[in-house]
Chain length 187, copies 2
DNA sequence: GTCTATAATAAGATAGAC
DNA sequence: GTCTATCTTATTATAGAC
């Protein structure tokens, strides 16, 4: 069944988020799924491959989400606003996967690591180009694009480490706070 | 000798930074020190205690560094600038320890975890009070203090994850970039 | 597709000699 | 203070029955 495969991934995401990749055993994942650990290997060839699948899918969806957020928006400042909001929203809505994608890269093999970092770099490049355009058009003050792009992305990503879906603020409100802070900071 | 104890800690910091706490074995630390793994236990009762010592000392020094940065500065905006600069400087100068302090808390026992989080909260409180004062004095625009304090600290802390001591920018320059961005963002 | 059983290895930690 | 030797336990992963 494909259902079990999905279930394994869901349980793994929860455990990797809570305990970390290395501190989580295949046995714990199996217990969470109500199966024996040997059965995991019917669906995934290794623990590392399970991690890679999680990260790979998350990065794919993250990129798709950004393209969606930017679709049909033309003004540069509007595009940055949309990119920032989209980034925050995706990270808060898929908190656990994104936390893992930002903290468990060291668990990957060298080849898998390269693939994920390549995707991450392509994603960051879009933000860097947007900031660069903003500076050229005089919307933003001159600044170090690389450092500020890292700063902005880390900032928004960090929401995923403390965000509580049942907490005081909704995703949209938090996105608004970050958007205001960042756009002020860039001017 | 006290020298060996320090050496163990230094090697452990390097390995925990590079590979992560759970992915690093006592044996690797011992090899790095040129001793056998059993000898580690003469200096530290357990691997977890070694992690706790690293985090504990880092937090102590971080707090002392902040108090130093703020000493004899009275104007609120100047105090925030000094706090931000001090935070960035400490995190870039002691990159590895700070990275560990922000990523390996899950390796601690519950009691040790509580002690470290208590220190971290006290540190954050100082920033929150400063931002609050800035708002009351009309230096900053009204905002969500908790969220922005997390944002500011994460932002500056994040430098520790990509900073290269031999790279293009010096610590002071990076601190300046963050200071400008954050102060703009708060206004 | 899931199970039991087990292989192969490595981990954290301790005992006791020197 | 450091060593060798060892205990105990947990881990990833595989083999083969059902």
């Amino acid at each position: 069944m494909l259902k079990t495969k999905h279930n394994i991934k869901d349980i793994a995401v929860g455990l990797f988020y809570k305990k970390g990749y290395f501190a989580t055993s295949i046995n714990e994942i199996a217990n969470g799924c109500g199966i024996r650990k040997a059965s995991i290997y019917y669906h995934y060839p290794s623990k590392e491959d399970l991690l890679f699948c999680i990260l790979s899918e998350t990065m794919k969806d993250l990129m798709a989400h950004l393209h969606n957020s930017l679709a049909e928006i033309e003004d540069t400042e509007d595009r940055i606003r949309a990119a920032v909001r989209g980034h925050v929203q995706f990270h808060l809505n898929r908190q656990k996967e994104n936390f893992i994608a930002n903290s468990e890269l060291r668990g990957l093999t060298r080849e898998h690591y390269r693939i994920i970092v390549k995707k991450r770099d392509a994603y960051e490049k879009i933000f860097q180009d947007l900031i660069q355009q903003g500076i050229q058009q005089g919307v933003f003050s001159d600044c170090d694009v690389k450092i500020l792009s890292y700063a902005i992305l880390t900032l928004c990503t960090s929401g995923a480490s403390w965000f509580n879906p049942d907490g005081r603020l909704a995703v949209g409100e938090i996105a608004g706070i970050y958007e205001k802070f960042i756009l002020n900071g860039l001017k």
